[in-house]
């Protein structure tokens, strides 16, 4: 069970006012808010432990290294990776995707095919387009239906011996659809293809088990799950990470350097060139601890109630249409009101202290599918309340009245 009053006390930002009104934060799919425990960890790091890691012989460096590596272990445990060195700390989901896409440019050839889902964020489309341009491989799209669900029969038809890679998000950022990734992973493996799951939207809601999923690559960002921005994770199976060449050259990722030849460090350091976001990594670990202390089952069940309540209440508004009506979806509602531009609704809501996202949500192909310029997106987290949803509904009604 979620003790909502107690949880809200953990988030100092929820006490602030925006445009003179109490903040109602419904842009959680863009970034989540930060609990005091994570903020404390950041302050503690810079107050007591700030040093460069992995190299220093002095105490401070050793302590900072221990904290950073302890965070990696927490993240490993959370995602149930087999080895800690399969957890690469990145600057975020986009970094992780680019790292893998770059690595595959040495493994793909003309005639190979890569599959991407129609539900992807631009960050899980563009790197693969660039990869295909470099290698001559072909990019094919797994289509979706009008509910925003991937059409699995077409996915099956698209898979063949030519398919070398599949990439799909666990949850769509624009529509909230939860994709059947276990099934998709198994199907990809049947034809010998590797698969990358973009977990940026799932990690705040679901605790993925990468071994049980048998996924080849799983990427996410800390800031979507109560951590800081600028840090994230790439999980890769050891065999795949060994096959991929380093992404960036620099310090930390080397074993021996001479001007004639450099040999690379082992995992995970081969992919962690330069001084990492040390504080961010440690705070990421604290965020994982925080969310686990609340419990993902409790989070999922509470957010599901919020989603059902908001869906029901919003649909009472005449002319309101929800995009993304998948059977399996998370606490994201993308909507429009007939004849009103999403930007107008977002602007009016902002004046009432309600933060939503408007626009194409970096998923233009989805907007093209529905033939709309964008949507208003309200995304809920476990620290949101029913009362806040009531305020949103009232706000949308006011906006509709003003804008019609």
């Amino acid at each position: 069970m979620i003790n909502i009053a107690k949880i809200r006390e953990d988030f100092p930002i929820l006490n602030r006012k925006v445009n003179g009104k109490p903040l109602i934060y419904f842009d959680n799919a863009a970034t989540s808010q930060t609990p005091q425990r994570v903020i404390d960890e950041i302050v503690n790091y810079y107050s007591n432990y700030n040093a460069n890691i992995h190299r220093g012989v002095h105490t401070l460096s050793q302590e900072a290294t221990d904290l950073y590596e302890a965070a990696r272990l927490k993240i490993q445990k959370h995602f149930n990776a087999k080895h800690s060195y399969e957890v690469i700390l990145t600057s975020g989901t986009t970094h992780g995707i680019n790292l893998v896409a770059n690595g595959f440019s040495t493994l793909l050839h003309k005639g190979d095919e890569v599959l991407v889902s129609a539900l992807e964020h631009h960050s899980n489309i563009v790197p693969w387009q660039m990869l295909c341009e470099r290698t001559g491989a072909t990019l094919k799209v797994i289509p979706m239906n009008e509910h925003g669900e991937l059409i699995m029969s077409t996915y099956e038809e698209l898979l063949s011996e030519q398919t070398k890679l599949v990439f799909v998000n666990h949850i769509s950022n624009a529509l909230g659809t939860i994709n059947p990734i276990k099934q998709m992973i198994d199907m990809a493996h049947k034809v010998g293809a590797a698969i990358l799951i973009d977990g940026a939207q799932s990690c705040p809601h679901i605790k993925p088990d990468v071994q049980e999923l048998d996924v080849d690559f799983y990427v996410t960002s800390a800031h979507k799950m109560c951590g800081p921005t600028g840090v994230g994770m790439l999980y890769g199976k050891e065999e795949w990470l060994n096959k991929l060449p380093p992404y960036q050259g620099g310090g930390e990722m080397i074993d021996q350097v001479t001007f004639a030849k450099t040999t690379y460090a082992g995992l995970p350091h081969k992919f962690e060139a330069g001084t990492p976001n040390i504080c961010g990594g440690i705070a990421f670990g604290a965020a994982v601890d925080y969310m686990n202390a609340i419990g993902f089952d409790a989070i999922a069940s509470y957010e599901h109630k919020l989603l059902n309540y908001a869906t029901k209440q919003l649909l009472k508004i005449d002319g309101l249409k929800i995009y993304g009506t998948a059977k399996e979806k998370t606490s994201v509602i993308s909507f429009n009101i007939e004849g009103i531009h999403p930007y107008d609704i977002g602007t009016i809501l902002d004046k009432m202290g309600i933060a939503v996202r408007t626009g194409h949500h970096c998923a233009q192909p989805i907007m093209d599918f529905f033939k709309i310029p964008g949507t208003v997106r309200a995304s809920f987290a476990f620290y949101n309340t029913k009362e806040e949803i009531d305020a949103l509904v009232k706000g949308v009604e006011t906006a509709k009245m003003m804008l019609s």
Binding site: N19, I340, H341, P342, Y343, D344, T347, I348, K351, T358, G359, P373, G374, T398, M402, L403
Partner: protein, 140 residues
């Protein structure tokens, strides 16, 4: 009327409102009186970038003054551009180039002046001034 006289007039009108809702409602109403752009000018070239909504602005020289027309698919954006056009349309290019936009702050729409704002007010002003600069160059 000069640019600064029109700005004073708009400030006066907005000073009658007590809260944001009335101000926005008025702006939305102003949007409805926007001199609409001829559909043939709704081209990619005339779209102002930096806006979440689509905004088109067209300028034509009539005698020695510039006449602006515009449109947008969002109502608030239409209101914003309508205010700008009321200030800058039918003015000499030189006056448009030199005209300031501080009145935006005075009518309580300061938040829209941030260059990172997705409504592109700053881009709209820039576009209007670019047109004026281009016509001024022709006049010279």
């Amino acid at each position: 009327m000069t640019i600064s006289e029109i700005q004073e007039e708009i400030i006066d009108e907005f000073s009658m409102f007590d809260d944001w809702q009335e101000r926005y409602q008025y702006m939305i109403d102003l949007g409805k009186s926007l001199p609409l752009i001829d559909s043939k000018y709704k081209t990619e070239d005339n779209i102002i970038t930096g806006c979440q909504s689509k905004v088109w602005v067209h300028a034509e020289m009539k005698a020695d003054k510039i006449e602006f027309t515009a449109d947008s698919d969002a109502i608030i954006t239409k209101g914003i551009i309508a205010i700008l056009i009321r200030v800058f349309s039918n003015q000499h290019p030189k006056d448009i180039i030199e005209g300031n936009t501080e009145f935006i702050d005075a009518i309580g729409l300061k938040e829209h002046l941030s260059p990172t704002r997705a409504n592109g007010l700053v881009s709209m002003i820039k576009k209007i001034k670019m047109y004026a600069l281009a016509y001024q160059t022709q006049l010279n």
